[in-house]
Structure formats: structure tokens, C-alpha cells
């Protein structure tokens, strides 16, 4: 057994080494983002000598400059509002529809659900132009409503919740029915609370993808007052194009909030993504 355990140790060592190398590779861009932000522009574009670390002090003030001149408070707020409303809308509509598809019987149920499935298979690029024209004629350009618009309902969420509801024991409803609850009460008081984990999954999934959406906020919110982090950053590249520390500082400021939230709510995130994927 001696050789087996040595083999084991070697195997374990290899695994650790690979993991550490991969972790390093994952982190290099982040580290470089921060290091560049802390340099002066001259240092950042200096090639000979080439600076990995800032040479003349760490210029934290660049963050302050970019924060102000690019109105990060507004960017954060707009992004937050958009995510919040999208999550609320998605969860509300999806849980109602999911319950109905999963537990109720009504005419057209199969047909309507197949529509839901079809929507999930269509790439979203096909919706953009008309959605844009609709938002624009509603006068919702440059508003939170415009940002939220495409995310008000979610076929994916409906599917997710339907599966969640289907997984609940059949007897529950009948038990409640005996006690004199109608369908609405049953839904609100008993069934919905039981799908909490699916809802959390959906919420996280929605929030994450809303946060990262680039094209929609870019075309709907041209004004930097109303746009989101993702689009605002894309515009910053046009504006600060040649000042690399400032651009990197802007990038850092754009990713930090989500990273912080992620680190705190790690468990929910991972579970959320896993269950949303696993259910399908």
C-alpha cells in the first residue's frame, strides 16, 4: 500500500498545483486592473523600464477622479434600480405562471406552455430592434422603465418555477382545499413560500444577467445620467481612451460592487446558478 499512498500524494500535489496555477491565471487580469489604476499615465505606458508595480507611490486619487467625473453614483443607482425591478417583475410573473402551469388545469395549458418553451430557444437578438422602437415610442428612452422593459416577463423563469412547483407533494393542495382555502389563498399562503429556493435561484440568475447586459442599456440610455455600469463603462473607453489608469480605475469601480455582493452571498449565488442549471 506504500506505493498507492505515494501515488495518492503525488496526485494530490498535481491537483493542487494545477488549481493554484489556474487560480493565478484567473486573478492576473484583476491584479493588473488594480495595479494599472494605481500608476500614473506615464508609468502605465512606460515600456523601458516596464513597471509591474506603481513606481512613484500608489495613486489612489485616480479612483476619486474617475468616480466624480464619470458619475459613478448615478451608474450604480441606475444599475441597481434596473436589477431590482427586473428581479421583482421576473419573480412575480414567473411564480404566478409557474404555479398555474405546474399545478392548475386550464384550457390551452399545453399550447401556452409550448410558447414558453419556444421563446427560450429563440436568440434574444431578434427582439432588439422592435423592442427598441416600442420603448422609444412609449417615451421610455433614458428611463429605468426602458431598461427594465425586456425583463418584465421571463420564459426561463416560468419554466424554472413550473418545475419547482411540480416537485412539491400533490397532497398539499388537497389538504388546504379541505380547509376552505380558494386557489389564490392556496397559492399565496402555501405553495409560493415553498418554492423559495427556486425563486432565489431565479432572482440571482436574473440579477446577474441584467447586470452584465451591454447592448440594451447602451442603445436605450444614451445619457450618462441614466445608463448602467456596463454601458457607462463602454462609453468611458471612448472618453478616456488614452488615459489608461483612469480607464482601469473606471473598470475597477464597475466590478467591485458585484464582487463584494458575490463574496458575501456566495452560497446563494452558487446554489442559485447550480439549481437553475440543474433543473433543466
Amino acid at each position: 500500500m506504500e506505493s498507492a499512498s505515494t501515488r495518492d500524494t503525488i496526485r494530490k500535489a498535481i491537483v493542487y498545483v494545477i488549481l493554484i496555477i489556474m487560480a493565478f491565471i484567473m486573478l492576473v487580469p484583476f491584479a493588473w486592473m488594480i495595479l494599472t489604476a494605481l500608476k500614473t499615465n506615464q508609468e502605465a505606458i512606460s515600456v523601458d523600464p516596464f513597471y509591474i508595480f506603481p513606481h512613484n507611490g500608489w495613486h489612489w486619487e485616480t479612483f476619486g477622479e474617475v468616480w466624480k467625473s464619470y458619475n459613478f453614483v448615478l451608474l450604480y443607482k441606475n444599475t441597481l434600480l434596473m436589477i431590482l425591478f427586473r428581479v421583482i417583475c421576473a419573480c412575480l410573473t414567473a411564480t404566478m405562471a409557474g404555479y398555474a402551469f405546474g399545478r392548475l388545469n386550464f384550457p390551452g395549458r399545453k399550447f401556452l406552455f409550448s410558447l414558453v418553451l419556444i421563446q427560450m430557444m429563440i436568440p434574444s437578438t431578434i427582439f432588439i430592434i422592435p423592442q427598441y422602437l416600442m420603448v422609444s415610442s412609449l417615451g421610455w428612452l433614458n428611463t429605468t422603465a426602458g431598461l427594465v422593459f425586456p425583463g418584465i416577463v421571463t420564459a426561463f423563469g416560468t419554466y424554472l418555477l413550473k418545475t419547482g412547483y411540480q416537485g412539491l407533494p400533490k397532497d398539499l393542495e388537497e389538504a388546504a382545499g379541505i380547509d376552505g382555502c380558494n386557489i389564490g389563498q392556496k397559492f399565496l399562503l402555501i405553495m409560493m413560500p415553498l418554492t423559495r429556493s427556486s425563486m432565489v435561484s431565479l432572482g440571482i440568475f436574473t440579477a446577474l444577467f441584467a447586470f452584465k447586459d451591454l447592448m440594451w442599456p447602451m442603445i436605450v440610455c444614451s445619457s450618462v445620467q441614466t445608463t448602467t455600469l456596463a454601458a457607462g463603462l463602454a462609453k468611458a473607453q471612448g472618453q478616456y481612451g488614452s488615459n489608461y489608469p483612469q480607464m482601469m480605475a473606471a473598470a475597477v469601480l464597475a466590478v467591485v460592487p458585484m464582487i463584494v455582493i458575490y463574496v458575501i452571498f456566495q452560497k446563494q449565488f452558487v446554489e442559485g446558478i447550480a439549481t437553475s442549471g440543474g433543473k433543466l
Partner: protein, 297 residues
């Protein structure tokens, strides 16, 4: 003769509730998705006027122009090339990492956090820092390796560089899905295999891979569609005067260019329709593959 079944009051009640509950979602889907899809199809047959005023029906003109346009075909090739890098590498590396992290490793949650980090970052930020890393003059790579490679300006390799960014971003996400899939495989299988003398690698290919195939298939399917509709990376990483742009730009990028930069919504719509048709074909092929390769318990 078909008997018309009358609904009991109770069934009627349920039906009303059911319809009311699905109404918001269905109305939403129709207004936000189905109607726009049909509208886009219609637009693809039109020539748009200035500022969206006045659409003139032109039949198949947009399509014939698109089919004859080498730029569109090249962009499809570029998009497929990107998918060829992102999907397999993203899946294989993530699977490997997931298997490692599924074993008894110290610091699992730290590793998991680190690997997932790229996923929570706005693609714009990711693109910006990678563009800077790849910069021929001032970037980290060329200066550390003492090379002078035009990572994103050389048409021959730019597409690979962009693909790498895609892989880097998606590994964490795939990995998390794999981990949850792995957890569902009962440990007994492995124990039994060990007793029978199967090596780790044997176990991997004969137990893990087949039992993981539903998860793998799900990941592959979503990533293929995700890769075929990629836009952000190319938009942010490639400057408009970048010589490699024609060999890297994705079809969605071209769509954006014609629709929003040049205001030619009709042509843009036609481009989208072509892409959608392509994706549908790929989806069907994948569904067939699912029947052959995926092992459901």
C-alpha cells in the same frame, strides 16, 4: 361524435385562476417577444428611412444583398470559430476543475470564489483589461514575455485571443454547474469501481462522464447559443480601425453596425434572421445528438 364536456364549477374556477395567473407572462411574452420577432421578420423585408420614418417594402432585397455579402459570411465563420474555442475549452477545463474541487481539497470555497469571479464582472470591464493586457506596445504579455506579438491586431491570431477571453470568463460558470452535477452522482458507483480495481482515469471516463452527460449537454447547448450570439467582447476589444476586425467580428456585431451605426434597420433585421436560422439548425442538430449521447437515468 365528440362529446362536449361541460366543466364543473370547480374546474371552471381552476381554469379562471390558471388563465389569470399565466396572463401576465403570456401577454408579456407575446408583446415583448413574439410580436417583436414577427416584426423583425417584417422589417427584414423593408428598407428603413431616415430616423425610422417611412419603411418601404422591398421584398427579398435585403436577403439577397446579405447572402451576396462576403462580410456576412465571414462574420458567421468568425462566430463559429469563436464558438469552437470557447465551448470545448470552456467545458473541458471547467469539468477538470470541477472534478478536482469535488475531491477532498482544502480551501474549496476559496478556489470556487476565485474561479467564479470573472462571471460577476461586467463584460465591458473584462474586455477593457484584456485589451490592455494584449496591447502590443504597452501590454503586460508582450513586456513580460519579451515578444512583439500583435495579439489582437494580427488577423491570423486575433480570433484566438478573443476566444481566450471568452474561455476565461465562462470557466467559473460552467464549473459551478458541473460541481452540482457531480454531487448528484452517488458515491457507491465509485466505491464499487474502486473495489473492482478501476483507476481514477477509468472511473472518470466510465462513470463520471456518462452520468454527467445531462449536465454537460445542458452546458454545451447554452454555451453554443451564447457563443453564437457574442457581441460584447468584439465590440469592446477591437478598435474600428483594427486590421483584424473583419476576421473577428461576430454576426451580432455586424448586426449592431448596420442597425444602429448606419441606421439600416431593414438590413440589420435580415442579418439577424440569417443568424437565427443558423442557430435553429444548430439547435436541431444538438437535439439529435442529445438522443444519441446523453445518458438519462
Amino acid at each position: 361524435m365528440k362529446e362536449k364536456k361541460k366543466m364543473t364549477p370547480r374546474e371552471k374556477n381552476e381554469a379562471i385562476w390558471g388563465l389569470a395567473f399565466v396572463a401576465p407572462t403570456m401577454i408579456g411574452l407575446i408583446v415583448l417577444n413574439f410580436y417583436p420577432a414577427i416584426n423583425t421578420v417584417y422589417q427584414s423585408f423593408c428598407k428603413t428611412g431616415d430616423f425610422g420614418k417611412g419603411n418601404t417594402f422591398v421584398g427579398l432585397a435585403n436577403y439577397s444583398k446579405a447572402f451576396a455579402d462576403p462580410e456576412i459570411w465571414q462574420s458567421l465563420i468568425n462566430t463559429v470559430k469563436y464558438a469552437i474555442i470557447e465551448v470545448p475549452l470552456g467545458v473541458v477545463i471547467a469539468l477538470l476543475l470541477a472534478v478536482f474541487l469535488n475531491g477532498k481539497i482544502k480551501g474549496v470555497s476559496i478556489f470556487r470564489t476565485i474561479f467564479f469571479l470573472p462571471m460577476v464582472c461586467a463584460p465591458a470591464a473584462v474586455a477593457m483589461v484584456w485589451k490592455w493586457l494584449y496591447n502590443q506596445q504597452f501590454g503586460l504579455f508582450n513586456n513580460i514575455l519579451h515578444t512583439n506579438i500583435a495579439w489582437i491586431s494580427d488577423p491570423k491570431i486575433a480570433w484566438i485571443s478573443v476566444g481566450v477571453i471568452g474561455v476565461w470568463s465562462i470557466i467559473g460558470y460552467n464549473m459551478v454547474l458541473f460541481i452540482s452535477g457531480l454531487k448528484e452522482i452517488p458515491g457507491d458507483y465509485y466505491e464499487a469501481a474502486s473495489i473492482d480495481g478501476a483507476t481514477g482515469i477509468n472511473q472518470f471516463f466510465n462513470i463520471t462522464v456518462p452520468l454527467l452527460s445531462p449536465t454537460t449537454f445542458f452546458i454545451v447547448q447554452t454555451r453554443v447559443i451564447g457563443a453564437l450570439t457574442i457581441f460584447d467582447l468584439m465590440f469592446m476589444v477591437m478598435d474600428k480601425t483594427n486590421a483584424a476586425l473583419p476576421k473577428v467580428q461576430s454576426t451580432v456585431y455586424v448586426f449592431y453596425k448596420y442597425t444602429f451605426d448606419q441606421g439600416n434597420k431593414g438590413y440589420g433585421a435580415a442579418i439577424v434572421m440569417i443568424l437565427v436560422a443558423f442557430i435553429m439548425v444548430v439547435t436541431v442538430i444538438m437535439q439529435r445528438a442529445e438522443k444519441r449521447f446523453v445518458f438519462y437515468n
